[in-house]
């Protein structure tokens, strides 16, 4: 079970409170986690990644285990603690005022 923490706006959009829990088939990577997230909550499509290129939106960042994983390959394995559900995968809106 993968734990994902979304920023408040996306929790509202997805209609969830607190953490999202996902079953991810195969290797646990950014891509597989986001694929599972979007499959469970289709309204999130396009809010984290570009619809076509699947690239991370510029003001979205991914953290886990006190590390910034935003610039890791989307197909790189996520930390083992995320894969076994001990630590959450955090989707964070970049600090950008507003």
């Amino acid at each position: 079970m993968i734990r994902v923490i979304l920023p408040a706006h996306l929790r509202t959009l997805a209609g969830v409170n607190g953490e999202v829990k996902l079953d991810v088939e195969g290797q646990v990577t950014q891509r597989s986690v986001l694929d599972a997230l979007e499959a469970s909550y289709p309204t999130l499509r396009g809010t984290l990644r570009d619809h076509v290129t699947q690239q991370r939106r510029p003001f979205v960042r991914f953290f886990a285990c006190e590390e910034d994983l935003s610039h890791e390959s989307p197909d790189a394995p996520l930390p083992e603690a995320v894969a076994r559900g001990a630590e959450p995968f955090l989707v964070v809106g970049a600090i950008a005022g507003g």
Binding site: P7, H9, L13, R45, G46, R57, V60, A96
Partner: protein, 375 residues
């Protein structure tokens, strides 16, 4: 089932959410609902003429991109619909501010124009400029790429707000005719329901482009039409207020005695096709009312002769702007006129502009104002 009411519903898009303001036909006491989508930029929301309870809203943010929301109950509840706006084929390039080629990139939806007859059909004007359409209530969007691909696209350039398709006018007498306007490209017309397009900018003169009378490149801020006279269009260009009497084949200036002919909004009285409204703004770069006085100007002669409307509007120390989608009229008798400001006020006049009062004073900066007349 949404309840019916006699009166008006004012739909306000702001930098931090949407607000729905309702009143009876007297338009004195207002109920304010919102913010809907708090914290998100709501560039525009608009209701269907065919089904007034069907509303569409453009919701966006720099962080999470574009969403489209739909309401089936007059704005009480909303559901997200498809947000996939993908250009047809290879997007190509347009001009950047310095004239270099810049790739087309989708940024946001500026304007949603529901069909006059089908609540499931909506046109979306987007940045970078293109026109999209849904015919299934927002489940899917497709580009009407004959506009972007008709040939002049590489010469379009962004205005200060981006290269946006901000106005869509549908001809009530001819469902195949559509007018759109783009900053900074100009005005375009389709006579075949959006398949093919051509620029209609003859008569426009813009000193900030290399050829002031070029076919495209004009920073048109807004165009407006009275539904009974779809061949007559009024335009607020970056500079100059213009009109055409032949569906855009030729334009002539009607700025007349305006204190400045720069501005963003322009609209037409609901019952008097020759009565038009603008909100003159000081420019370049200041973008606030001249002399700190917020004045709507009205012409009852289709332009050239203008009178200042000031009753109830601040006449000192006012430095707000009125953005291009932030004026609308209702069709009650007498005609109501509404506009919103970047200072968060929404002003209403229930007597064609003679007297004004704020409905609300302290919203986030107002991007858009639309009005539904309910009966």
């Amino acid at each position: 089932m949404a309840e019916k009411m006699n009166g008006v519903r004012v739909l306000v898009g702001t930098r931090k959410g949407a607000f729905v303001l309702t009143s009876d036909a007297k338009r004195k006491k207002w109920d304010v609902s919102g913010p809907h989508f708090a914290g998100w930029e709501i560039y525009h929301l608009k209701g269907s003429l065919a089904d007034p309870n069907r509303l569409y809203a453009s919701q966006s943010s720099s962080w999470f991109g574009q969403l489209i929301q739909r309401s089936n109950d007059g704005g009480k509840t909303w559901e997200p619909v498809d947000n996939k706006f993908v250009y047809d084929g290879v997007p190509g390039t347009h001009q950047w501010y310095d004239g270099t080629a810049h790739p087309w990139e989708f940024k946001r939806v500026w304007h949603l124009e529901p069909s006059l007859t089908d609540p499931d059909t909506v046109y979306a004007g987007v940045e970078d400029a293109a026109l999209f359409r849904t015919t299934d209530g927002g489940k899917t969007w497709g580009e009407l790429s004959g506009l972007r691909g008709h040939g002049s696209g590489p010469h379009w350039a962004p205005g200060a707000g981006g290269m946006c398709l901000h106005t869509v006018l549908l001809d009530p007498s001819d469902p195949r005719r559509i007018f759109i306007a783009i900053s900074a490209a100009g005005t375009f017309r389709s006579d075949d329901a959006g398949e093919t397009w051509r620029p209609i900018n003859q008569g426009l003169r813009s000193e900030h482009i290399p050829d002031p009378t070029a076919e495209v490149g004009h920073c048109v801020h807004r165009i407006a039409m009275h539904p009974t006279r779809p061949n007559v269009l009024f335009m607020q260009k970056h500079w100059d207020v213009m009109r055409t009497d032949d569906a855009g084949e030729s334009w002539r200036e009607v700025s007349g005695n305006l204190p400045t002919d720069f501005g963003f909004v322009i609209d037409v009285h609901a019952h008097e096709p020759e009565t038009i409204y603008v909100a003159p703004i000081k420019s370049d770069s200041e973008h606030f009312p001249p002399d700190g006085k917020l004045r709507v100007y009205r012409s009852r002669t289709g332009g050239n002769e203008w009178e200042a409307l000031t009753n109830g509007l601040p006449q000192s120390d006012c430095y707000v702007n009125v953005l291009r989608d932030a004026m609308a009229v209702d069709s009650l008798d007498s005609c109501g006129v509404y506009f919103g400001t970047t200072g968060g006020q929404v002003y209403a006049s229930a007597d064609s502009g003679d007297n004004w009062a704020p409905i609300v004073r302290d919203l986030p900066p107002v991007f858009s104002v639309e009005v539904q007349t309910l009966s």
